[in-house]
């Protein structure tokens, strides 16, 4: 009985984590699902957002301004990846890796060479939006839910506009988009900037939630984001084509991810193994549709052969 109560006690914390990462995954959704590029910049830009926010808050800047600057910093990171990709013709995945590496240095510079900048609760507790305190958890959840909802609303509006649909078309069919007069390079750069801006904003919230910005906090972020997207897709029936519902599913996916994560920790799996576990789960989910396809098409071919 106690065990179950203890377990239930971990859930609000997991929901809080899930909402922050849900915001991050929504940002990732723009590149991964809409633009059809795997953007590895996010591992760096989530930390950039955290670093900018933590450093500014500890220097007495208003939290809203700090978070806005985090967003802009993330957009700049996306811009760099976009330019590397479109102007210099570097494959998107490599462009993301290059920017990610650059960001490692940039993030250290932002934090003046420190690997960790703490936003201690005693000193800054009343200056931040959300804190790591367990007593604040419900407040935290509400605030994060508002962020997620507003982001989904803005994206829903944006991708319904004339300009927003150029991003969707670009991710869907480059030839068609150019033939219809869409500047596909601009669309890609814009999408990468938008995505990384949201990811950095999630990073700024994460820093507040953890009580610090850490140079390593972005490691493997893309895998967590992908896991959230994949779980969200599994959650979301195929019939749901509504864009905001899909984004909501992604946020839901992130929450489920952290529920599972907390449970696994609770059961006592050593935490060193968790990243391995996340990666394996994502690999499975990405791999299964492919295996299914090759398996089925082979079967079809074999049948066709018999008839011939």
């Amino acid at each position: 009985m106690n065990l179950i109560l203890n377990w239930l006690g971990t859930l609000p914390g997991a929901a809080g984590q899930g909402l922050v990462w849900g915001l991050m995954a929504i940002g990732l959704y723009i590149t991964y699902k809409i633009l059809d590029v795997a953007d590895l910049t996010v591992d760096g830009s989530i930390c950039t957002g955290a670093a900018v926010c933590a450093v500014m808050v500890t220097n007495g800047v208003n939290i809203w301004i700090a978070m806005f600057c985090a967003l802009v910093a993330g957009m700049l990171a996306g811009l760099v990846t976009g330019w590397l990709h479109t102007i210099f013709g570097i494959p998107a995945i490599l462009a993301g890796i290059l920017t990610q590496l650059m960001l490692w240095s940039v993030n250290l510079l932002i934090m003046s060479g420190r690997a960790n900048v703490a936003i201690t609760r005693l000193k800054y507790g009343d200056k931040v939006l959300i804190t790591s305190a367990a007593s604040d958890i419900y407040r935290t959840i509400v605030i994060l839910a508002v962020f997620v909802t507003l982001t989904i609303a803005v994206l829903y509006w944006f991708f319904g506009t004339e300009f927003g649909s150029t991003l969707r078309a670009t991710g869907n069919n480059l030839e068609m988009s150019r033939a219809q007069g869409i500047n596909t390079n601009f669309a890609k750069v814009f999408g990468l900037a938008l995505s990384n801006g949201i990811v950095a904003l999630a990073g700024a919230l994460l820093a507040q939630q953890q009580g610090s910005a850490d140079i390593n906090m972005g490691r493997g972020a893309i895998v967590i984001g992908l896991a959230a997207i994949i779980i969200g897709e599994a959650l979301c029936p195929k019939l749901v084509t509504n864009f905001y519902l899909r984004l909501l599913c992604v946020a839901g996916g992130a929450i489920i991810y952290w529920f599972v994560f907390q449970t696994v920790v609770f059961i006592g799996l050593p935490s060193e193994l968790l990243k391995m576990l996340s990666a394996l789960v994502v690999a499975c989910f990405l791999g299964v549709p492919y295996l299914k396809k090759t398996y089925f098409s082979k079967k079809k071919k074999a049948r066709g052969g018999k008839h011939a």
């Binding site: 944006f158 319904g160 506009t161 004339e162 300009f163 927003g164 649909s165 150029t166 969707r168 078309a169 869907n172 069919n173 030839e175 068609m176 988009s177 150019r178 033939a179 219809q180 007069g181 869409i182 500047n183 596909t184 084509t241």
Partner: protein, 264 residues
Amino acid sequence: MLEIKDIYKTFNEGTVNEKKVFEGLSLTLKEGDFVTVIGGNGAGKSTMLNIVAGAYPADDGSITIDGVDVTKLPEHKRAKYIGRVFQDPRMGTATDMWVEENMAIADRRGMRRGLRWSITNKDRERYKEALAQLDLGLEDRLSTKMGLLSGGQRQAVTLLMATMKKPKLLLLDEHTAALDPKTAAKVLEITDKLINENNLTALMVTHNMRDAIAHGNRLIMMNAGKIIIDVSGEEKKKLTVESLLAAFSKASGAEFASDRALLS
């Protein structure tokens, strides 16, 4: 209307795969010309259309559309003047987007795309009307994903998309080649209708000689990057498949070679 002037194009220059496609290709279309283009495999038909559309640059020469030199304009800027339909039905539309979303994108070709909502109810009515003209029952399927339509339906919608914002020039590259004969005939009929109604200037590549003869007011035949036959008006009306084949071997000194059923 369209002036292709002295175009040079070599693929993979300086490698073992070097392929000289054009060495001084020129072609001029008058306003309202509907030109059918035939020629064997690798004659350079698609390359010519791609160079006109700006999909890749020419090494030398110039392209002028309606008095505007577009040689240096990137593909998406030239799109203001050009409507296109590709051979592969998957190429011309965004398959994961709805029919109406595809049409809305085509509806803004050559215009600034801002932060206005991309489809209004008024737009929807227009799209419905346009789709109804195709006579394929698509007017009730505005919110169907493009990818769920058949190849013929997609080509028909792509045609509509290429012409709904009246282009100065319509480029069709074997746009019926992937379709079964009946659907191909239907799409060709729609093509004729749209070109006539809007009085468009068009270049239509086809591998079917009968179609090339039956449609348009001018016919050109290409071989090895050169235009070897160019007939129009009354002279074109008198063409037959046999006379074309004879003219081809006379002009090129070879048999007409293509892997496709030219006489079908």
